[in-house]
């Protein structure tokens, strides 16, 4: 009677699980355990069928909570559990020992994994399951004893009870996601990461916000995204953020989905802040590098040369034939002027001041040793956009004449729909590398600071393309 009750408990718990979590196989597996168990109670069964319920129970424990053997360890564990059936047909106790050991071993391996995985071992289900397995291993040899028999049934009966408790607990955690929605209403800085970590119970969870070409945290620092340990969050079909989390959370996809959906709007807001901080950071770094370069040029070039002039002039004062020295001083001064001119060109191209972007691009094209066709249709542009566009064309054309082996280049600078598109295309051999050298990579940063995008495509010739917002 008691044994039939235990079997029925498995069957009912399994069916409930099946209904509540139709995507998981844990429910059907548990129902299978109950059915096989009850089968043995209706009469003597062949040895393999008679202990099949035990193997399915092992299978269920190992693959909990999804019911799918997703890792190599778990697949091996499941294999061993079914192989133990064959062993049990010859020597029942040995089979039991092999199967039980496999279940315990998989749990131990899980325990040694991540912090989040460790907590799974302590879930009501796995705990009751382990108690059952250990009890069976300990008491089976003395199963004839009525006390031991009763204890065994209680231990087995605990498993479906623990499973139902677990289901209830998950419902509660769905409730936690609902709470998350409420709490996200007024989170402080960096609050979403903490709230998501708490809701998903993964203290190491990190949120990376999409910044056009990489994920960054709220301070604008890059977030590394490991393979197979991250979930992308999209909003309105656009990439928004990434959750870097413990891989074990993949076992509860519906929980992550619910949490991401709940956090979507808050993440979207925070991404704007993260993106802004990244751009400010880049702008600050670029400005600093620029200042250093100007300081160096002024110090090494202009200042040293200027110093030589009063020296030459005081020599001239003391000389009986000052004319050659005065001439020397004049030449030195003109050389300083040349240095200053080059420096000015680097700070802000004078031709931009005189003629705007279209005129400046025409001048660049005229100076290029490779023939250039220019299309320029630009209206009034913000000065910083104009300057960056100029350097994109200048560097693009310098690249064409230096590396491309091209016979012709085409430059297009066109404003349309609130953006300025800059494109330099050549018919050369390609092979531009944005990761090497400072030229193209520096450009990518300058463009990013203006909120634009920058691409180099060198599959057929080289195409350097920058799109800059100018509305």
């Amino acid at each position: 009677m008691g044994e039939s009750l235990v079997g029925a408990a498995y069957l009912v718990a399994g069916i409930v699980g099946w209904v509540v979590q139709p995507r998981y196989r844990a429910g059907p597996l548990l129902a299978g355990v109950g059915a096989l168990w009850l089968l043995t109670k209706f009469g003597p069964a062949p040895p393999v069928i008679g202990s099949a319920w035990a193997a399915v129970l092992g299978h269920w424990l190992i693959t909990f909570p999804t019911g799918r053997a997703e890792t190599t360890v778990r697949r091996a564990g499941v294999g061993v559990v079914y192989a133990a059936l064959v062993v049990a047909a010859i020597e029942p106790l040995a089979g039991l020992a092999v199967g039980g050991a496999a279940v315990v071993a998989v749990q131990v391996i899980r325990w040694r994994g991540s912090a989040a995985a460790r907590r799974r071992v302590f879930s009501p289900v796995t705990l009751t399951g382990l108690v059952a397995v250990v009890t069976v291993l300990g008491l089976k040899p003395v199963a004839a004893d009525p006390t031991a028999e009763a204890l065994l049934q209680v231990a087995f009966g605990l498993v479906p009870a623990g499973y139902l408790a677990g289901l209830f607990h998950r419902r509660m955690r769905r409730g936690a996601v609902a709470d998350l929605v409420v709490r996200l209403g007024d989170v402080q800085a960096n609050g979403i990461e903490a709230e998501l970590a708490a809701t998903l119970r993964d203290p190491a969870l990190r949120v990376g916000y999409w910044a056009g070409d990489r994920y960054v945290d709220l301070a604008g620092r890059e977030v590394q995204v490991p393979e197979g340990g991250a979930t992308r969050v999209d909003r309105a079909g656009e990439r928004l953020a990434v959750l870097v989390h413990d891989p074990v959370l993949f076992e509860e996809p519906e929980l992550i989905e619910a949490a991401c959906a709940a956090a979507g709007l808050a993440l979207w807001n925070e991404r704007l802040a993260a993106d802004l901080r990244l751009r400010i950071r880049q702008a600050r770094e670029a400005t600093e590098a620029e200042r250093r370069r100007i300081e160096r040029d002024l110090h090494d070039g202009v200042q040293q040369r200027l110093l030589s002039i009063p020296m030459t002039l005081s020599l001239a004062e003391a000389s009986r034939d000052p004319a050659p020295l005065i001439r020397e001083a004049r030449h030195a001064l003109l050389a300083v002027l040349g240095d200053l001119r080059a420096l000015t060109q680097g700070i802000h191209p004078p031709v931009l001041t005189e003629r705007g972007l279209a005129g400046a691009v025409a001048e660049l094209a005229a100076l290029s040793p490779v023939p250039v066709r220019v299309t320029a249709r630009v209206g009034d542009l913000p000065p910083e956009v104009e300057t960056v566009a100029y350097y994109v064309v200048a560097e693009g054309l310098a690249n064409v004449s230096k590396h491309a082996g091209a016979t012709e280049a085409v430059v297009r600078v066109v404003t349309a729909g609130g953006v300025l598109s800059v494109e330099i295309r050549d018919d050369g051999v390609g092979g531009a590398d944005t990761t090497r050298g400072t030229g193209l990579r520096g450009l990518a940063e300058r463009v990013a600071v203006c909120g634009g995008t920058f691409h180099v495509d060198d599959r057929a010739g080289t195409v350097v393309r920058a799109v800059l917002p100018c509305g």
């Binding site: 004049r330 003109l334 002027l337 040349g338 001119r341 004078p350 031709v351 001041t353 005189e354 003629r355 005129g359 025409a362 001048e363 094209a365 005229a366 100076l367 040793p369 023939p371 250039v372 066709r373």
Partner: protein, 215 residues
Amino acid sequence: MRVTLAEDNTLLREGLVRLLDEAGFTVVGAHDDAAGLLRSVAEHRPDVAIVDIRLPPTRTDEGLRAAGRIRRLHPGTGVLVLSQYVRLTYTVELLDGGAKGVGYLLKDRVTDLAELTAAVRQVGGGGAAFDPIVIDQLVGRRDRPDDPLNELSERERAVLSLMAEGRTNQAIATRLGIAERTVEKHCSGIFAKLTLPAHPDDHRRVLAVLRYLNG
């Protein structure tokens, strides 16, 4: 020779006036903007107008546009453009309409009294004075010991000198009494001998002229 000038920097303007006085020119006007220069040219009809490219109010290219106006409205006045920078595109614009009585120099060149005197006399006399930097930027330094200009045939020289006067191929053909196609052939020969790179906008004509003028 009478000269008027526009330069917005007071020190430079006074300096230029002193240098020009020293060199024996008569300075009939010294202005700090393009409007003043244009009035001065219309009133005095000087031999040469010297103009800085950046002038008030916008300090962009007012001087260059004033130069273009003077060349169109007062062909008798030569125009000498001064700038901190020498631009190929500006040279092309200035030479639109021929290479007579026009010059474009880096300000550095006129800090030397002799160079300034030579340039103003050249422009005032209907000649041209262009900064060698323009050519250097494009065709590189002349590393060949022999001047490619010497390799031109008599006919090519004649075509080039007419080109420098701002004449079209058709006008050159009429003047020399040859077919326009023949003029085109001579042009190709000139460009090849002067090793001028092909450009879609065809700056080669201007470059050939510059090479000839600086020859």
